[in-house]
Symmetry: C2
Subunit: 198 residues, 2 copies
Amino acid sequence: MGNSEGTERTDAQEEIMSATYEALCEHGYAALTVERIASELGKSTAAIHYHYETKDELLVAFLDYLLDGMNEWIDTKPDAEPRKRLAGLLDGLLPAEPHDRQFTVAMLEMRAQAPYNESFRAQFVERDERTRELLKTAIEDGADAGVFDGDADAGDAARSLMALVDGGWTRYVVLDDEAALTDARETAREYVESVLAA
Amino acid sequence: MGNSEGTERTDAQEEIMSATYEALCEHGYAALTVERIASELGKSTAAIHYHYETKDELLVAFLDYLLDGMNEWIDTKPDAEPRKRLAGLLDGLLPAEPHDRQFTVAMLEMRAQAPYNESFRAQFVERDERTRELLKTAIEDGADAGVFDGDADAGDAARSLMALVDGGWTRYVVLDDEAALTDARETAREYVESVLAA
DNA sequence: CCTACCGATCGGTAGG
DNA sequence: CCTACCGATCGGTAGG
């Protein structure tokens, strides 16, 4: 689940989440240790275990913290016309200048751990579902407005676009290809115009 | 580089590679230790360090071994007509029934380590380039034959298809979505028919 | 929330 | 290629 809305966090917990983020970006997920988080926090490892019993519990809370923080930008332009709204969503999902490469790299590491951590997987699935729903709604509204093909399955189209989004990020990280996000965005655009357009 | 063709391996080295594969599938990349490989091999860890000085050296050799082994299926149907050849390539890249999920999971873990291991990255880049070249050639031949749009950039189209391929696999692993590969294949098909078709 | 520490595990090596 | 072992590092805890 991941308690999408009101995850209560004390100030101390908030500081630990922030320190975890810094340590993650600096060392990557594989080298992320309680010691390094504590160092970033400026306290002892015991201080962390006081708030989170195990490292796994901390990491699950951390992923929740991360995905919470990502839910703000995504609801931009909810009132724009469907075609523009869909384009805006894709621009947000495949940004022209990604914020922090280190972070993106670490995110793929965390994603790759999903098969070994059911809580991780559940959170990534939930986030995927929510994102796909936004795409689907924009596509459906576009079909209602006559700009997209009404016979196309909006849910399937949303899945197709998400495959391009995930592929773009994977290639950006694995191949260290700066253009991978731009390429994926352009392909998504072609897909919308050629497959989806009425 | 990765010595794509004639990587010489002794029998002992071949056995270590095979044992590494088994240990990788069983425990995943993050939990892949020299000890576990040795256990799968039925020998001591010193036996492994006799053939590979460091764990990293072993892993680089192992990735080379893996990608070597993947270069066989991919050249199927080199003589078919372009449209069929492209479809065959995509079927190979996004198979209906992937062989071993555990292995696929571990491969994403290894891909996610590319930013921390230049040898890994170089091997993934090389493999990507080779695969894209196959797609590009099929698309170009299709354009020459008049079945694909001659104005489309074949290299760009190949990149687009690779984003779908990588996205499909990432989603298959991260979301544990059995249909992710089929969905990506279908989207690739739509892309070929709607964007690429003459 | 700290100091001090434990048991487990890791990659790697000496000596044969 | 084995036995035996080392130094480093890990997550976690006792006791305050």
